[in-house]
Symmetry: C2
Subunit: 334 residues, 2 copies
DNA sequence: CTGAAAGCGCTTACAG
DNA sequence: CTGAAAGCGCTTACAG
């Protein structure tokens, strides 16, 4: 391995000078700079970030923990985080956390052992134990789609309440009175739980009392979207419209509708959430709530970066707007 | 930060002993071990991996570079890599590489600067410059879905030739004579390029001469699948069946077929590639070539791990089987 | 404008 | 069974 000493020797300067040239941390004679740079490229020298991190306490690394197993929404957010981090000179360490305590402890240890400068957590389920772990790490931390004022960390979420209110209201305006919801996650702090509140508020504002049998809890599996829709339609008074917590759930519902011989949207309306790329290619094309996933990733990193610079400021809670995109899967009630 | 010295002081032993207790690298008096462990937990000590890496030369970190922007296939492979790496005590650093040389150099520098023990590259396009960068890094490296005997690195790919041969043969047996292909990537070394060979071989074996206008090159955008299918059907003698290089492309084609008023599979058959979860939920359900993505990720990491242990052995080239899954989007020719 | 030296938190031969 | 000490590759006050 080529070290700063090798460069120093070849350029006939001290290691300190090489370091200053690399980091531009002090004025150096232009000719010296040229010699150092020549030595660096002729030796193929590469800075050892870990050694630097050991000395400075900053690794230029951020950790990303996701509890959601693979899903198209988080994949895009992750791409946004990574690209933005890279542009700022940061690397990303990824961890798909499991739901048991030991794995959570290990994950935190893995990331902290590599001296991450900040941590982004995306979770649909956060246990009290994980909560405690987060409080102990002394690093800027941002939660995605999770908000608890009691946790002194930054948070970033979509305007889930307003989004669900808006899509439900749209269906009401289209004449639907029996509107179901295929959702997930009951924890108050998990941002998606606000969707149920928006959905129910819209119904109440229209003089409709929300029915418990119209709300189906899932774990975001497409198969559950299928089963939930089938179940809703088997009710004595089946909903004529359904909103969902994700496009994947909506695609499951769309498929179930086809299997039941229902025409979407003539017989039943379906509205998704996320606006994944495929939403424009289903048959029929999916009406959905668009979230700007790349932007979400970008903002998540930038907030962490701000927090690294100013750890003293109070935690911020950022809410991103959503956009109802009407395609073909929703329409007027019969 | 709590260091090994703090632990040593509290446990009344030397730093060396603490290190040996942590790493189990020599026999230590059971009582001493107990004291050290008590000190570790009471102080909340966490090993600094970067300091260890500096000393030992092994970071227990692997790098993953993907050139494919977000796609459901790679997302699952990545999850498989990360989970397997974690189970083996390794962390994963992620980089979405760009297609320009400077970004590629930066990416390698970022990962090498963190002293990664190995590198997994997933690419549908590899430039000669990137090639050179790979040759220079002195670390085990594995290419996913890319194989060049001239590059002395491990490689892991699906049996692309056989898979395309098989799906084309299936369509031929169903009576199709005019079979199109919506593909991508012309580089010989990129594994998917073997699909075209399998497709054309199957045709030739059936006495059919492959037509250039039946093969459409894309960059894997769903929109291109849509456009390609539309274009194929606009030919004077349109294909009655189409295979594609990905399920996303197939979903674009499926949507195009619907817009053309075509019934799938009565009027035209479509077969995808990958078997993403949604393939079971489209209307009609998608026939496709299943790749075991989680397994692919798992094997990729394990191969890197083997290579870290035995860097002296010759590079290996691993080929994974695929499986043709027939659902509803393919059927007999009219 | 430049350098010598200490030290970040570990591991590991060497010595006992 | 255990410890003192050197050193991994950097950065950064201190000194000139």
């Amino acid at each position: 391995m080529v070290t700063i000493k090798d460069v120093a020797r070849l350029a006939n300067v001290s290691a300190a000078t090489v370091s200053h040239v690399i980091n531009k941390t002090r004025k150096v004679n232009p000719e010296t700079i040229a010699r150092v740079e020549a030595a660096i490229s002729s030796l193929g020298y590469r800075l050892n970030s870990q050694a630097r991190s050991l000395k400075t306490g900053s690794s230029l690394l951020i950790g990303v923990i996701t509890f959601a197993t693979y899903d198209p929404f988080f994949s895009e957010v992750l791409a946004g985080i990574e690209r933005t981090a890279y542009a700022a000179g940061y690397g990303v360490m990824l961890r798909h956390a499991e739901f048991n305590l030991q794995a959570q402890i290990d994950s935190i240890n893995l990331l902290m052992g590599n001296n991450i400068d900040g941590l982004i957590v995306n979770s649909t389920t956060i246990t009290p134990e994980f909560y405690e772990l987060i409080k102990q790490i002394d690093r800027p931390c941002l939660f995605l789609e999770f908000y608890d004022p009691a946790l002194p960390v930054d948070s970033l979420e979509s305007n889930n309440f307003a989004a669900a209110y808006q899509s439900t209201l749209h269906l009401l305006k289209q004449g639907h009175r029996r509107i179901g919801c295929i959702g997930g996650c009951a924890y108050e702090q998990v941002s998606v739980s606000q969707r149920r509140k928006g959905y129910e508020k819209a119904l109440r504002d229209a003089g409709i009392y929300p029915r418990d049998d119209y709300f189906v809890m899932t774990k975001y599996q497409t198969a559950e979207g299928y089963a939930a829709f089938t179940g809703l339609r088997a009710l004595p008074e089946p909903p004529t419209a359904v909103i969902t917590y994700s496009d994947l759930l909506a695609l499951g519902a769309l498929r179930a509708a086809a299997d039941l011989g229902l025409n979407v949207p003539a017989d039943v309306s379906i509205i998704g959430f996320d606006d994944i790329e495929l939403a424009s290619y289903t048959v029929p094309r999916l009406s959905t709530v668009a979230q700007d996933k790349k932007l979400m990733g970008e903002m998540a990193f930038k907030q962490i970066q701000r927090r690294i610079a100013r750890p003293d400021l109070a935690p911020e809670h950022i809410v991103l707007p959503t956009r109802l995109v009407l395609r073909e899967s929703s329409g007027p009630a019969k």
